[in-house]
Symmetry: C2
Subunit: 264 residues, 2 copies
């Protein structure tokens, strides 16, 4: 009997060329496919909820694949983790309804972007945050983040390459953002035993119906312009209305971005 | 005027072949020397408080080097961090007394060893802990750790290679351990937003007058034998008294070990 499997996985994207399989390059999708082949002996390409770029991390990416006979579902998680590199972990394998599809069935996604604000970025954090120790008007950034909540055409924040700007099968750049907020958190725990020096991370969390390619990183790059005083809230509104990528800020580095969760 | 500089640095040891400079290989000492050369234009090999092995991390390693003219001491930290890779950070540069020496002046060192006990090790932790999800009698391990406090000959826990067993200039394997304890801590913070599943790290902290090569990792490997029930406290005492490396447990993996601090 054909099982439609929902695989939830976490990864450190630092050493991978993104999600999508590519010849001769280590990718998350390709590495997961190789692990599935080793475990069940069949070539199957798992379909993700969306692509993540090179260097982007995931706390709970979701992928689907169809398997027939072979290893019981409840044994797949440990079998896959046994052959996967430690930078990729399968958190959960479940049998889903036949019509369930990681990308098409997704109703909402949450992303996070971590900026380390301390003067010296601890080496153990360096792969996992964007280090920006310079002055920022964080109050202005918080106000700007609130402006994108609601339904908008996010063309100004999509990757300039139109082929990559949208997920497959999508025909519009309109997306609905349910929440968009920055907060300070303490990553002192991560340096293990060093005295905490205040809440040293400035973290953006955004939840929406869907996201265009590079959209979160382009939003963060634009919020940073606001923080530097180069753009105000009225300017951000004009960028949103312009539907023109060239008006917005640059793309923030991949290493700070996390796909936190996918809702169905 | 010749300045004797005390440099405190943190590093992620994962991608380095240890502290000590080696031809054709990336090491912490070699990378720091190259950074000093780029900043001040002179070839100087900084002397560390001790060597750390390939894959071992440091929260506050100390090194000394002598500089004459050039860049002011207060500017060195940011100048060095500007040219160092993000896996190595200079935390502090101070002028020390002429007789101060990172290794010879050290009075005590603290090391930490992190074991991740959860079933699935989060990818963002994988480089920084030893993942050991199997049953362990942690109460027995805690009791065993207390036994090594005090002055002992640690030959049974030194690297088998006698050349590498001792720091340069040392002639005895007797060391004094001031504290040696395991505790559970929560690394849930490190998975950023995932629900905490209890105190998922079992962490060993040991402070002593000095340590032989591989000593902390060999102690941890032997404590794990105690945790698995293969050795009891009386057996550990016999190993200590045997002064024979072949009697103790295996060397625990480097990735879990941290040089936490050096006291002067």
């Amino acid at each position: 009997m054909l099982r439609n499997l929902k695989i939830t996985l976490a990864y450190d994207g630092s050493d991978f060329h993104g999600w999508q399989v590519q010849p001769e390059r280590a990718t998350i999708q390709g590495t997961l496919a190789a692990a599935i082949e080793r475990v069940i002996g069949a070539k199957i390409l798992p379909q993700g909820s969306g692509r993540t770029d090179a260097g982007v991390h995931a706390l709970a990416q979701v992928a689907t694949c169809q398997l027939d006979a072979g290893i019981p579902t409840e044994n797949l998680r440990s079998a896959l983790n046994h052959v996967l590199p430690s930078a990729i972990r399968v958190l959960c394998v479940e049998e889903a309804e036949p019509e369930f599809h990681a990308r098409k069935s997704a109703r909402a996604k949450t992303y996070r972007y971590r900026i380390f604000r301390g003067e010296i970025c601890p080496p153990l954090l360096a792969r996992y945050v964007y280090h920006y120790p310079y002055p920022l008007d964080e109050k202005a950034i918080r106000a700007a983040a609130a402006l994108i909540v609601g339904e908008h055409d996010f063309t100004s924040f999509a990757a300039a390459d139109p082929e990559r700007g949208r997920e497959e099968g999508e025909s519009s750049n309109v997306r609905t953002i349910c929440s968009s907020a920055w907060r300070r958190i303490d990553s002192a725990e991560m340096s293990q035993g060093r005295p905490p020096d205040g809440l040293n991370e400035f973290v953006y969390t955004v939840r929406g119906s869907g996201f265009l390619h590079h959209m979160v990183r382009n939003l963060v790059g634009t919020f940073l312009l606001v923080g530097k005083g180069a753009l105000d809230c009225a300017g951000l509104k004009r960028i949103l209305e312009a539907r023109d990528r060239s008006t917005a800020g640059s793309t923030a580095p991949a290493c700070g971005l996390y796909l936190v969760s996918v809702e169905y």
